[in-house]
Subunit: 328 residues, 4 copies
Amino acid sequence: MSKAIKKIGVLTSGGDAPGMNAAIRAIVRTCSYHNVECIGIFRGFQGLIDADFEVLGPRDVNYIINKGGTILKTARCVAFRTEEGRKVAYDNLKKAGVDALIVIGGDGSFTGAMVLSKEFDIPIMGIPGTIDNDIHGTSHTIGFDTALNTVVDAVDKIRDTASSHKRLFFVEVMGRDAGHIALNAGIGAGAEEILIPEENMGMERLLESLKKSKKSGKSSSIVIVAEGEKLGKNVFELGEYVETNLPEYEVRVSVLGHMQRGGAPSCFDRVLASRLSVKAVETLLEGGSNYMVGLINDQVALTPLEQAVKGHSPVDQELLRVSDIITI
Amino acid sequence: MSKAIKKIGVLTSGGDAPGMNAAIRAIVRTCSYHNVECIGIFRGFQGLIDADFEVLGPRDVNYIINKGGTILKTARCVAFRTEEGRKVAYDNLKKAGVDALIVIGGDGSFTGAMVLSKEFDIPIMGIPGTIDNDIHGTSHTIGFDTALNTVVDAVDKIRDTASSHKRLFFVEVMGRDAGHIALNAGIGAGAEEILIPEENMGMERLLESLKKSKKSGKSSSIVIVAEGEKLGKNVFELGEYVETNLPEYEVRVSVLGHMQRGGAPSCFDRVLASRLSVKAVETLLEGGSNYMVGLINDQVALTPLEQAVKGHSPVDQELLRVSDIITI
Amino acid sequence: MSKAIKKIGVLTSGGDAPGMNAAIRAIVRTCSYHNVECIGIFRGFQGLIDADFEVLGPRDVNYIINKGGTILKTARCVAFRTEEGRKVAYDNLKKAGVDALIVIGGDGSFTGAMVLSKEFDIPIMGIPGTIDNDIHGTSHTIGFDTALNTVVDAVDKIRDTASSHKRLFFVEVMGRDAGHIALNAGIGAGAEEILIPEENMGMERLLESLKKSKKSGKSSSIVIVAEGEKLGKNVFELGEYVETNLPEYEVRVSVLGHMQRGGAPSCFDRVLASRLSVKAVETLLEGGSNYMVGLINDQVALTPLEQAVKGHSPVDQELLRVSDIITI
Amino acid sequence: MSKAIKKIGVLTSGGDAPGMNAAIRAIVRTCSYHNVECIGIFRGFQGLIDADFEVLGPRDVNYIINKGGTILKTARCVAFRTEEGRKVAYDNLKKAGVDALIVIGGDGSFTGAMVLSKEFDIPIMGIPGTIDNDIHGTSHTIGFDTALNTVVDAVDKIRDTASSHKRLFFVEVMGRDAGHIALNAGIGAGAEEILIPEENMGMERLLESLKKSKKSGKSSSIVIVAEGEKLGKNVFELGEYVETNLPEYEVRVSVLGHMQRGGAPSCFDRVLASRLSVKAVETLLEGGSNYMVGLINDQVALTPLEQAVKGHSPVDQELLRVSDIITI
């Protein structure tokens, strides 16, 4: 890793997230600032195997900072999980003169990159890009803040109709196995209850809480349900169960779905993506490798990728408490 | 109906729609302008039966023009379908001195009001408030334009992730038995196909069209599906069927759901609601009754409620053609 | 004009407006649908003179339906006002094999195109694209609806702070010499007063109205001011004058400015742009020329460009009345 | 301060900020959770002097978490700056049985509260509510994140028209004497230059930078200007100066103004407001006083009000560097 880096490749992998384009833009321009060439790799690891590359200069990333999705596309890649696949990938990188790789994505993407780096001694850096915020080594992943605003905006709309009809809504939000989106957006949306995988509320307590809520004079209620947790039921079964057991409620269910992944990134995500990307490029140029760049205590910080992948990103107990108190 | 009207009651009924509050505000203020008292009736026809009334003055409707939902709430009311129920309703109106009634809602709500009017000779007016745009006698119902923007905004977000992953999305939108939302929002969102109850596309043609779309070089596709039409399948079955028959596509399904009913009304809906409401009040004051106020050829126009309820609101064939052409 | 049209050029001219890209997309695709080539001309008439052309196929206009601005750019062009300039333009069109021209813009742009058409017998069509809605022959210009939503959204935000502080705001909106934006957005935003060039309110009546408004119990007020009308003062002088004469008010001024021209187009503008564009292309293919395509009574309709340019687009007197009534 | 607190008063003071209502809601509900009464004080310190109080229960703050502005209003209060005024205020609090006070606002508001606390030994807490983020002891003030999104959204719109016309825009944003909004929103909006009071760029360097920007192939440019810094000129003079000296640019100026203060708060601001408010109430109940509750290293933390008022909130040097690099 001591030889000077002249060409950096960048790819996005896994689920797309708003702010990925802001990261790509910042990587391209930081490369240019340091007189290093930048190569865009299309469709994640698949693009490595297909040598789907394109040189990116500062003007090629004009007007993308505010676009959702990723101009580099993303895809699942089975071939990259085999040694042969990764050999092809490495050969393509070598042929193109790419000295180092930046991967924007989540845990799975980092793991793939780490294997490649170990097998072929190529410097890599990871940038956490996922709306789920389920990555160790950063308080915020790129896309999380935007997704929270998207969810809160959607639930504000649902609240309009819920309160007009005095209904109870179960709203399922994304987050994979983590409750970060549910917990934060639940507080932000003023949800009466928030069901997350990290906390086992239990069906009985949910029914109790909803009964109490009704008695307290609330005429409509929103329950936010993380996709990873539904008390052993899917969200529609959950709604039916509650309607059966609490006939005083008229229940509706809404699954927000993939719109949570898109949209113009928030200012927070644009700034975050820019900061992490400058650091990722400069770390490579200073000889660093195998780190994830994240935000810790509001400062850009490096975490060894191995730790990032193994570590947990628990939900904040203080937030759970705040949620309990303010839904009184 | 010759006696002077001194007090007008207003209620919202059926599904809520953005712009209903703008209508309530305009009714209250037009009453005040003409020195007539205005009574807000809560929870639709149920509020008539429960005498759930409140005098509304111009300052009581400050700052509601931009709020989704309805401050008067809405509810289904079984009792109002009985003669006894309507007798109670009429007695409550009489006791409160209400001389005339304005109903903001859809077909079902108008029908209820017409029965009351016939039985007790009370003047009524209807204002079309529903996101579905399925009412005869108006080019636009209150809430339709806002719902279109909400759908288009959501599909723009889904497009971000669809194009990043090169996926095919089936997006179900509201509209009950009508395809107005699907057709207009489908064109606005640049959907590849639009499935509406008014047009029987047939499964074969859909598959053909999607195959052609793929060949034409499109890397992602959105199909908008009206809730009233799914070619005999629900939207999830539809997605599975297509994925099975077109394995070149990775299919995802999203049901936009109740968020389509909420949100701050668009300028169009606020202006529309204001215009129709002024006319509704003034028609009552001039001795008119049993009309729906609507927009025809951009002008406020009256349609006898009987016609409004019986008539159809077909989708525009020109729009269907435009949709076909521009998705090439 | 009898010879078959094989190649259509399209340009955007004058101020940009949201929905212009939706129009370009629909023109390109309608051409493709009819097996006609489409040529994009950059920077308005300047691009004609510079032969700044690019062939546009259906896939070149993917993902632009939701983008503000115009991918073809727009510019002022002094040279095109001279006969020599237009000769160069025509020669370039001929060299490129362009048989007909579609101009998306306003009055000035149409006039330029008409001169070219007369001088060189080239078929042309006009599509009204401007946020100002000041064009005869269409109830709505492309971009108008979006601008209304942008203004209403901004004034909703200003209302938050106005009502928290109990202030009087003067908000200047665009519209050139016409009051369409001010009148519609003023009603939509719940403005207390709306000052437009078409109605001479007079300073005395404004002061009277504001005094009355204060007495009626309103704690905050918004006055919308069209850029074309300020009672002989600029909006800052107007604010100062009112503060001096009505010391009970704390006055603030906000000029919304160029943000009104941008943003993702509303569903209405996307559908409108698509409809008008299909008709523009097909009119040319059917041998028509020198028409503007517009929306009249909700239907797509042709108006001779000469009439469109000469005619007026007066504000609706009914809207003025509605505005007076509901601000009581 | 040892006696038990039974009644807490809350007021908002200074400029309003999105999220203030979320704070009021959380304070009211945390009081209720701990069986303490909560008194809303209207129009800031003026309401203390006028005894403009209202008991607030958990249901009184339904549906306000998503509203901009402050339901408690805010106002400047000259009388509170005098000892007599504060005596009246204290007497009113005593008469109403209010044991402690929470002030949501900025430096000036905290200073006023501290004087009252010192003079009359009444426990107080401060919650930082201002869009300017210029308060020591918290990484984020309530309203800052929302204002950033509002600015970025507006500049995205301006960018549409700037790039269509190839223009240079100077956009003035709020922030009083601090550059936090300008710096963060400038990075988020992809601004070419950001002028803030904390950094003296100098006119020459600005001209140099814009010349370089033009040469690099950028066709449009946005310069964000903090209201506190304009290189000795107001933003209009600045625009004129640049247009005179760089005739290759067509310059436009936009002052975003008071819309930056309003709008539905972002999820971040709603969660932040909720967290700080729970802590503010509980600190009072535990006997604490004269602290500001803030966010430090992502954790809720207390800072003595005296320090909060005296300390500085400098802009982040790393952000300045990121801004320089990515605008290449």
